[in-house]
Symmetry: D2
Subunit: 360 residues, 4 copies
Amino acid sequence: MSFNTFGKIFRFTTWGESHGPAIGCVVDGCPPNISLSQKDIQKDMNRRRPGKSKFTSQRKESDNVEILSGVFQGKTTGTPISMIIYNQDARSRDYETIKNKFRPGHADYTYLMKYGIRDYRGGGRQSARETASRVAAGAIAKIVLKKLIGKKFNIIGGVIQLGLLGCNKNNWNDKEIKKNPFFCPDKKSVKLWKKYLLSVRKAGSSCGAIIELRASGIPLGLGAPIYSKLDADIANALMSINAVKGVNIGAGMEASLLTGEENSDEIRNLGGKAKFKSNKAGGILGGISSGQDIITSFAVKPTSSILSERETIDRKGKNTKISVKGRHDPCVGIRAVPIGEAMLSCVLLDHYLLNRAQCS
Amino acid sequence: MSFNTFGKIFRFTTWGESHGPAIGCVVDGCPPNISLSQKDIQKDMNRRRPGKSKFTSQRKESDNVEILSGVFQGKTTGTPISMIIYNQDARSRDYETIKNKFRPGHADYTYLMKYGIRDYRGGGRQSARETASRVAAGAIAKIVLKKLIGKKFNIIGGVIQLGLLGCNKNNWNDKEIKKNPFFCPDKKSVKLWKKYLLSVRKAGSSCGAIIELRASGIPLGLGAPIYSKLDADIANALMSINAVKGVNIGAGMEASLLTGEENSDEIRNLGGKAKFKSNKAGGILGGISSGQDIITSFAVKPTSSILSERETIDRKGKNTKISVKGRHDPCVGIRAVPIGEAMLSCVLLDHYLLNRAQCS
Amino acid sequence: MSFNTFGKIFRFTTWGESHGPAIGCVVDGCPPNISLSQKDIQKDMNRRRPGKSKFTSQRKESDNVEILSGVFQGKTTGTPISMIIYNQDARSRDYETIKNKFRPGHADYTYLMKYGIRDYRGGGRQSARETASRVAAGAIAKIVLKKLIGKKFNIIGGVIQLGLLGCNKNNWNDKEIKKNPFFCPDKKSVKLWKKYLLSVRKAGSSCGAIIELRASGIPLGLGAPIYSKLDADIANALMSINAVKGVNIGAGMEASLLTGEENSDEIRNLGGKAKFKSNKAGGILGGISSGQDIITSFAVKPTSSILSERETIDRKGKNTKISVKGRHDPCVGIRAVPIGEAMLSCVLLDHYLLNRAQCS
Amino acid sequence: MSFNTFGKIFRFTTWGESHGPAIGCVVDGCPPNISLSQKDIQKDMNRRRPGKSKFTSQRKESDNVEILSGVFQGKTTGTPISMIIYNQDARSRDYETIKNKFRPGHADYTYLMKYGIRDYRGGGRQSARETASRVAAGAIAKIVLKKLIGKKFNIIGGVIQLGLLGCNKNNWNDKEIKKNPFFCPDKKSVKLWKKYLLSVRKAGSSCGAIIELRASGIPLGLGAPIYSKLDADIANALMSINAVKGVNIGAGMEASLLTGEENSDEIRNLGGKAKFKSNKAGGILGGISSGQDIITSFAVKPTSSILSERETIDRKGKNTKISVKGRHDPCVGIRAVPIGEAMLSCVLLDHYLLNRAQCS
């Protein structure tokens, strides 16, 4: 039971509203004696924070994270790591319009109906601002995984589809992802994407995206049947991110179009090691990692915060219209890349520790 | 933490191997005073069991479920409901070939590497036979939901894509689903599907499928942010089913192709009630049910148990080949329909009870 | 959340009513590749089962346990171990009197009021018969601990007070415990206890008991602050046993009477190892095992099933009287010894695995 | 699994070290729409904080709690309530002596051995300072219980034994508890207790205590068999408090001395309601509240922080001696009263919500 806590052994609890004084995160179950500094975490925070390019929200947040506990003389102690991020650019006036009207496609309506009360300022708890806490937790998970697994561990995400535009995955280049504002792994797609997204932005509209995550160096044996399968926990983790509507593992939805011959990854002995001839499975068989790269992708819907006027009702049930004028991302999917990486890192570390418990 | 337990308040634990003496399920957290009989559960069991048509495995299992506890004088008592299903047609000789060879696309390799031991007979614990227990638990969940919500509650699943063949969802007909051996909701597709699947079967091959689930009459307010979102829990539940590789909520992966205008479901006041003009969200906003129908779909890969010879290695790491001759489903996706319904029912009941705790 | 499940990683779920067809237990999270046979478990079952002497209930139950899953070719596989124990000597007619009257001191009243329904036969789910399942789970935990820790691991419980009669703990002898029907560790007390308990039985009355548990060979480091402290989890485990009303760790309640000087266990270096000069702490400091013996004790109330007539009300609220004539233990505390050992074993194994996850 | 989280539905997570910048608490699962202000919480904080009399530690902490989230316009919103308490009087120099020596009776040794690292300043995470966070969470639980149950709900704790001195429980007076510095319910004992504790303090020694908690107005039906019994959860909650070594429910350990006749609480119909003639059970039967007052007590050991020199070893294993000169409580049991109340309140609210889920 965990409304605001994620994980089994490596667990984090997030708190905070978009326009409250601060948001934060308590990470529990982190192994002791791991070197950890604020800087390590901040690096990931900066990848997610808004206002960095004209393709993301203009809200100015430094997303400066402070560590309040759990680290002593530069090392984790095994006690909870509490982190706090103060909200800086919270302009509540922007949100007077949404105080009484439900934005279609947002959770305004369901939150108010469920709880009978909600902090409507900037979406309150339902705002994607909460994901900053996830990135902080994920940064710790990555550092721990790197320490436990070694240098071969790597995790990277990229946007492989921006609205209607795909990219060529054969051109995937980890370094390219860090160079363009779209986390796009294919250099050749960047120019067209820029043009496209500017036009979407100018139109006051928004578009969706698909993000692919790749984790390599993952040991065999992570994941536990039947109800702690690695793929099921990844699906849960990614679907919990705001605006995500679909999750694929390996071939994903397209596995339905393959034959048994095409889909099963044949195995060969290569220099004494088992090697798979393909990776339709996405590195997971029967819920357990196979030692292949973990490949997963997820779809982010276009944000419903758009300039176009939309039909809706107000708190009293009256028919009305709404046009959202705040500071928004034309494609929220872009900033979902570091969030996806963070969630996947947390799931992998969690199962790494679980496997150590059961099978070491 | 729950390797073999699913759920938060309404929880079930499954046990058993494909060729052991029996499999079973303990359902915990079921509300008291609900009328429940073996017959009610058996009805759902029969929808999943193999050997009913030439399109599914020829293993003969009556899948007769016995209730061992938790029901007194025809009613639930609030104590755990233990159910047992004896294995009948377990022919272990069929599985001598897989004792020492890893079937590509199956979990043979990962199970053995993780645990250092495995019951290889019929796939042991990794066999889809485990899903019979889920259907038993789901049958109880459905009965309880019907009692708590009333007659307007309905849950139904259908195969909307069989291998390369789709169907016309505009022809969706709940009754049709019960009439054909494919759980296909579109009468017009059945004939072609028959022909197609027979050819797949004759070729000793297999194909995938996509299943769509629809739940109606669901009250607003089920699901709890941030890490017990209804959609994230559904994704977890469906991805935990054997061979599932992708999960969509509402528009799903295709939401990435829509504009903000197309994707946000506008709201109108209709006779004093909020009505959505579309349902791209699949009935869930911010992780909370909106009162619309819950729509979710998932992709099942083609089974890797095929007659075609495939390259693999044996337990000693030697290169070899394998051809699986046992009794298998040409499309495991078909029998996934009642399993998907069962898992969705359990998630919905779980959140119904959780919501009662927090917001009643 | 776990109504009928105990534990964190090593978990067991029990089910079944006193007069239903069977009771049982599903053990989850057991490490793989541990030799395990039905016989190993049965040995512990026999220590708990009734009808062995005139000092316990005359209900005849062989308490024969069957393993239905999770063990393959004599070894655990890491999958759930399902065990079933059929009820044999269930004479429901004995319980017609309690169908409509609430036995004072029993849970008849609270069960019916809470659930609105209950299986009254033999106390149904509230019967101590459920503890047979715990002993089965505990037997597995002991075997695993012995495999993981080695021969130095030992766990033993003894009755140190029988009603008004104590014993001399300085005479504690593990072997003596197995020889007398009271699990009494002090040979000199046995004769008097016999006489005393026979008189209690003849009078149709009952008496309480205090049981002490001792676990040796326990590695330092089990238990995790703050809310998974080893002592807090032991208190939870023991207080969950039927009729238990108090739990002590080390000096326990009497620690309140000591001075700081008397209570703190001084430490010395003995041959390169830390040795404590006393063990007031019961082997646990700050919720973490110190490497000393774990010492804990618990009080069992006298059963309320007595011949003496007692005032009560019936289901309709009418004043009435009741005298319980079924087959009962004059001192239920005696049979609580193997149950206490079982619960302690499960807690220790659980924390052993947890520690491996976090600190290996 | 929850190292630093307590509870099932109403959950709180604490973080922070004694001499870090701050400590805090995240409360999750609080029902929405409950009036809550900082003041309400501060009132309870003040009852626990040190430095109020010469009978407690002289550390000066205002224990000022700040609410960072989860409350909007004076009401809870159903989202996590994050609270922070800055450490003010953290004099790390006081703790240089314990940097390298293990204080007997403290968790210095086990923390370092388990984790290989620890924040030794003031005991770090193992310090009772953590309990301030519990009191904050408990204050919220009390307010919610009062709202849900009504005015008849009351919870109060008192010290019934101070070291070797008891008090007369027949003189129990709720109001008296608030008047004396010992939380003593018996006015007649206060004078002697003062004299006694001053002498303990002067001697540089310390003494233990027994605290009794009484909760009235508790509805029947809280608690769920078998492994979420109300009494077992209370035992867990109280034993998790620093320095607690024993927990009683109702008659507790002394139940072992009673006969079945003495111990079973007879029931009568009084004006249409079931009334018990006594309360040996402490208000709990079969793990479920009976509607009677919940009575529980727990023993706190004398703190091991004493002036007397004690034998111990240092980090290198060398024999040495230690005398603890910091600011300490001569009887830590006194300040355990509000902590015990807090923990009991949290358990009761948790089960209130759970019962609503299962049986409403």
